[in-house]
């Protein structure tokens, strides 16, 4: 069947040395074969979407699998305690991110009992699809291929097109990484169980599992698992080994021939793509009730024995690398593969949901890059680009910080696979330029939105001020009109009703009228003052003019007193730390 299937190709791509043999020799080290680290640091923000809110406080005891971070809205994912123990702190700690910045984290000291919170599997077949999605959100299931996109958001068919094909990504094209390979070899049945749940949620009639043909064992076990399940709609397909065949859009292209255009999603074409690790996590979350608290991580590079480990999130990276054999000339960790990975700011940053591989780097293994030479416009990068972009043009405009032009060359279609940098004869770190441009454009967009919002608020404020002014003037006009009518009434001795205020407000009245007005106002103020002195206050509107009549000196004295009080307070606050020291 596989042999008959027509495969498609994508343009570009490269074939770097795979370096996968060393770490795929031995089976995965299971959780129960590993000691617990002395401390877990679990960052609350591990996936795309809103930052989860902490649900625990320092000093609290938590159980394994207990939710410690609640998802912030639907486009977010929950975080769980990796083991039982005591929460030491909820504070910012250095995150597994190139920037070396901190992120609010829950620090847990394990008690060694590894006691599970009460868990129960979900009877998903008799439940509403949305309830199953909510369950996955609260179980913290995100895409484990590296993009960490909340899975429950992806498990929805497109609105216009019915779902045709579910693509399961087992290609694992990046050098050094073998965690998906080993997972498929050892836990194929569980992956298939997860795939069945996903297929049901998406309503996809066909499932294609794409695996690069340099993993014959994984292909064999997955095919065997498919036949054992006697399900002809789930097929394992070997795809040619070429980096980046494991990119979602590239794998969809190779398996189905569909090229997802710029600005559209694969669901618009009835295709959705998931990583095998995600399928496994979904099976664990639903059939066993285990939230996502661990994943397979390849430890490779400058270590004694490269191998795959099942690692709890929050484990310090150096702890797990020491299990594989630490070498002294290790100078940095790279999270992810050598093509797309990120250099970590420290050795003890925690393993997070996106950590598929930790490469211990040493000067011997990764020599410092040769100096960057000028671009000679040879076009090698354009030939290697799997998304059919023109990397040299994007580089040129990024370098000149001409961000409008970079976007015209479709910068945001770049998947940062690193093929262009790999083939560049001038050793230009092209992807770094694209990352620089992307973050810069995002920052500018944020700034622009903030400025637009500020403008709206400023205009609204001005409008409000204008309106208040107008209303005040109208009120005053009405009052003066009423007062004039009242004062004119006794003078002219007309017995007509003087209560109705006349519309024309400050008409150019004669001197007598004006004088009468002022007198009336003074009389009113006096009367009010007397009233205020005698009885308690009236309506707040009436109170204001009374205040104004208060002598200026009194007012000043009040303000001075307030100032004095504030000053002494400030001084006291400033002196306090000094005396304490």
């Amino acid at each position: 069947m596989n042999a008959l299937r027509k495969l498609f190709t994508f343009n570009g791509g490269v074939k770097p040395a795979t370096n996968k043999a060393e770490s795929s020799r031995d089976p995965i080290v299971r959780l129960d074969q590993l000691p617990l680290p002395p401390q877990f640091v679990v960052p609350l923000h591990q996936s795309v979407g809103g930052i989860p809110q902490p649900l625990v406080t320092a000093g609290e005891r938590v159980l394994k699998g207990q939710r410690i971070g609640g998802s912030d809205g639907n486009f977010s994912s929950a975080i769980h305690a990796p083991t039982s123990g005591t929460v030491i702190a909820v504070e910012p700690r250095v995150m597994a991110h190139t920037s070396g910045l901190t992120m609010l984290s829950v620090v847990i000291e394990p008690d060694g009992k590894d006691e599970w919170v009460e868990i129960q599997p979900l009877d998903w077949r008799s439940m509403d699809a949305n309830a199953v999605r909510d369950w996955l959100r609260d179980a913290g299931v995100v895409g484990l291929g590296g993009a960490v996109f909340p899975s429950h958001m992806k498990l929805m068919a497109g609105r216009k097109t019915p779902m045709k094909t579910l693509v399961i990504n087992g290609a694992e094209c990046e050098p050094f990484i073998t965690c998906d390979d080993l997972l498929m070899r050892e836990r194929a049945d569980k992956i298939i169980a997860g795939i069945r749940i996903m297929r049901e949620l998406l309503g996809a009639p066909e499932v294609l599992i794409g695996i690069e043909d340099n993993k014959p064992e994984a292909i064999a076990t997955m095919t065997a698992a498919c036949t054992a399940n006697a399900d002809a709609t789930i097929q394992t397909i070997a795809v040619p080994t070429r980096y980046p065949a494991g990119g979602a859009k590239q794998l969809i292209r190779v398996l189905t021939g569909i090229e997802v255009p710029h600005g559209q999603r694969s669901t618009d074409y009835g295709v959705q793509c998931f990583n095998v690790g995600t399928a496994y996590a979904i099976h664990e979350a639903i059939d066993l009730g285990h939230p996502l608290i661990s994943r397979m991580v390849t430890i490779a590079g400058n270590v004694g024995q490269p191998r795959n480990y099942e690692v709890l999130f929050g484990t310090p990276m150096d702890f797990i690398v020491r299990q594989a054999g630490w070498k002294d000339d290790t100078n940095a960790f790279i999270m992810g593969g050598p093509m797309m990975g990120f250099r970590m700011p420290a050795f003890d940053v925690p393993v997070i949901k996106a950590t598929n591989c930790i490469i211990a780097a040493s000067p011997r293994l990764f020599a410092p890059p040769p100096p960057e030479m000028p671009c000679i416009r040879c076009g090698e990068c354009a030939r290697a680009c799997p998304t059919d972009l023109q990397p040299f043009e994007m580089y040129w405009h990024s370098r000149a910080k001409n961000f409008g032009k970079v976007q015209e060359y479709n910068l945001f279609d770049c998947i940062e696979c690193g093929c262009c940098s790999y083939v560049c004869p001038s050793h230009i770190p092209l992807v770094d330029y694209y990352r620089f441009s992307k973050t810069e454009i995002w920052a500018r967009e944020r700034q622009k939105n903030a400025a637009d919002e500020a403008r709206v608020r400023f205009e609204q404020r001005n409008e409000r001020a204008e309106r208040e002014k107008r209303e005040k003037a109208e009120k005053l006009a009405a009052r003066t009109a009423a007062a004039r009518a009242a004062s004119a009434a006794p003078a002219a001795t007309t017995a007509d009703s003087p209560t109705a205020p006349e519309a024309p407000a400050p008409t150019p009245a004669g001197d007598d009228g004006k004088k009468a007005l002022i007198e009336a106002a003074i009389a009113r103020a006096k009367a009010k003052k007397a009233e205020a002195a005698g009885t308690e206050g009236e309506a707040p509107v009436v109170e204001k003019p009374v205040r104004k009549v208060l002598s200026e000196e009194e007012k000043k004295a009040l303000i001075d007193a307030a100032l004095e009080r504030a000053k002494t307070k400030k001084q006291a606050a400033a002196e306090k730390p000094v005396t304490e020291e």
Binding site: S99, M103, K401, Y433, F436, E440, Q447, A451, A454, R457
Partner: protein
């Protein structure tokens, strides 16, 4: 001869009428250039340019009455954009108007605040919440960092705090070749 003149005159009248109609029909309200300039300005409404807000400054620039280098919050970047839009030469920021500072937001020391509402009245974007004799506080995400609330405060309880970078707002550094600083040679 006469027919040619008539034809030309007729054409002129026809085209004139069409143009007149189009001018009325497609009349643009307001000055689009002012809006374009206003879109570039950072909307802090701080008045450092010498005009009472961003829009007046934009209007002055559109009329050629103001220079393009008077907006410190917009910084060098803003000047470049204005130079592009208006077809003028780039100029460095006029030091008389102030200096470019990192983005900051105001912070009220709530222990010292006496609740006088003076800052509330000064804030151009309604980013301060509070009432008379009630403690005031800055709504940080709305604050543009214009510093207009600093001066009116009678007890000096407002300070500017630079906005810290987070993992979400972090920007990848410009991948230029880094020159290593060499220690300056001593006199010996």
């Amino acid at each position: 001869m006469l027919s040619a003149l008539l034809v030309m005159a007729g054409l002129a009248i026809l085209i004139g009428a069409a143009l007149g109609f189009a001018a009325l029909k497609f009349k643009v309200e307001g000055d689009p250039l002012v809006d374009k300039i206003d879109a570039i300005l950072p909307q802090t409404q701080c008045g450092q340019c010498g005009f009472p807000g961003c829009k007046p400054y934009a209007t002055a620039m559109a009329n050629g009455e103001a220079d393009i280098n008077c907006c410190p919050p917009g910084g060098e970047d803003g000047i470049r954009k204005l130079a592009d839009l208006l077809g003028r030469e780039f100029k460095p920021l006029n030091a008389e108007n102030g200096v470019e500072k990192p983005k900051s937001v105001a912070f009220i020391d709530e222990q010292t605040c006496i609740g006088c509402t003076l800052c509330l009245q000064a804030c151009p974007v309604d980013a301060i919440s509070g009432a008379a004799k009630q403690m005031h506080t800055i709504i940080a995400p709305l604050c543009t960092g214009c510093e207009l609330c600093l001066a009116p405060c009678p007890v000096d309880c407002i300070t500017m705090k630079p906005v810290e970078e987070t993992v979400d707002t972090w920007k990848w550094r410009y991948p230029a070749f880094q020159l290593k600083p060499v220690a300056a040679r001593t006199a010996a």
